[in-house]
Subunit: 364 residues, 2 copies
Amino acid sequence: MKLPYFKTEQWMTDHEQKAVYNLTDTCVEPLKLSEILAMDEEGILKDMPLDYGTITGDTRLKREILKLYETGKEDSLTMTAGCSQANELVMETLLEKGDHVIAFMPGYEQFIRLPQSFGCEVSVLPLYEENRWQPDMKDVLKAWKPNTKMVLINDPNNPTGIRFEASFMEALICRCRESEAWILCDEVYRDFESPSISDRYEKGIATDSFSKMFSLAGLRLGWIKADPELIERINCRRDYSLISTGPLSDAMGLTALCHKDEILARSRHIIQTNIEAVKQWLVTEKRAHVQFPEEGTVCFLKYDIPVDSRTVSEELLGEYGVFFVPGWCFDCENHLRFGLTRDPERMAEGLKLFSRYMNEKTAA
Amino acid sequence: MKLPYFKTEQWMTDHEQKAVYNLTDTCVEPLKLSEILAMDEEGILKDMPLDYGTITGDTRLKREILKLYETGKEDSLTMTAGCSQANELVMETLLEKGDHVIAFMPGYEQFIRLPQSFGCEVSVLPLYEENRWQPDMKDVLKAWKPNTKMVLINDPNNPTGIRFEASFMEALICRCRESEAWILCDEVYRDFESPSISDRYEKGIATDSFSKMFSLAGLRLGWIKADPELIERINCRRDYSLISTGPLSDAMGLTALCHKDEILARSRHIIQTNIEAVKQWLVTEKRAHVQFPEEGTVCFLKYDIPVDSRTVSEELLGEYGVFFVPGWCFDCENHLRFGLTRDPERMAEGLKLFSRYMNEKTAA
């Protein structure tokens, strides 16, 4: 099935290796295997046989994941190879040629291109920067069709990091319920204290992973949480994609969840320190603007120089080693995807170089 | 997209937990994390940051994988979450609604159901047990259509374990070349000394993994080897499915490959000892017949009692804890998928119980 390049992923693949100052990484400074082994007081990891493990995911792991939610049982969950596969499996299970779906931009390109490749019609609605990157329920009602089957959102949004307001979500759920439409919500940037769609709407499907706030992208471990009947249907499709996520990733995920307070505290501290560093930079750098998110690891930086975002990103990387994903990847010019995840001192150095680059461009 | 249950996978999920004597497992007795850590002389594993790693797979890992083949460069490879995802990505990249493909039964159900779910027409051709489970080239020529785009095979076959004869493969390649058709060959049961389709046909696509002969199913690490131009197209589709296989699995795979002689020798020894145990059982058990494969971990057992394979499998498991996947999962009655992978003594005990069960059934 024909698909164009996934712009963000392709950009990362093509450019990331050259990064000296990675200001776009959305995964908190990664943990190491030795750190997880040290947390494994029970010693389950080292002597675990590396077979397929439990096909739909380890039971203890699922019990710990459920603690990140208000509702659900073990069979409300199935494990996946990361959050993107979680999203893919949901779409593959539910969407058919001829269905209509609603997505938003800026947003995660997978939610537009995959349904299109299945032969679905996709309405892409805007998020309004001037209104703190919120969607407008009027747009949703206008786009709604008799065959609207699913609304696809990232909440917190990728790349803005900002959550949709409660009033919008309530209205959206209400409209979806009327038509028995699904809401697929990629919650990979959620900080696990805020609401999940799967706790608020019976046809709400939450996807998530260990990649962002848990600093364990390397586990490639994600999950889907939804109504058990839907999970059973997804598991049927899932058997054609992966056998299992494997007992090692499952057990490392379990170990991390048993130490979630310390891991999440570490992540929040790193993010907060980075936000402070950016705020300090913004005091003197008037050509840049950031609406900071309340949770998660990502935000969307706006800059005021008259250079397109691909050129900015390429020149910054080539000349200074400063790495951003351009807003072009999200159909949103004069923006850069900005990750609040790495060493704050390097972040501050990178931002200085970004200012120097903007000086050169405006002087020229 | 609508898919029926994957019969083999569903059978495993529903029944495997009850197995006392697992006589159907196709992965050689799994290695442990501690064993891989002990092989890691360079100490790369423990202090590796668990980030996404190299998106399409670690370069050193790819170099070591290439040693399992006669041809290819690093960009002839991309890494996947196991061999089933490798197969899925190939099919998703190349197949379109309206294409015709050819597959074989008994064989891997994924190769029939996934293309059907895309709207492809699938011709399912028989393997002839009386001819050592070989296909007949005449069947292929008869089934061929102007829109035949791909031939899908497991070689060694799943579940018979037997390779297609060289003369058939030559004729098949010749016919495919004439029509520029692809051959997707799942080589997960290959013992790495025999030929690979990717070394013999320019449109041959090999998929494989660490799950069977490397005893590392728990890594969930597979790969696709094909022409670099196709790999680039697959990587485009792959970005919508997974970000990467992750640095931990990649590095563990690399470590295993650096010790492949000892790991493969261990696997061959286990398989051979099991084959001897089965042969000894067959001397007195005349109601069972096995055509042993030259390589790999799986074979297909035929039994002579008048009970269907699902009943045999369910009763054997319920009464004696002896676990098989029934031939029913491969549309092939009076057969059981038989794995040559576990402890030979337990295997022998399980087989004795199987004989006792057959005694009861024929006495009744």
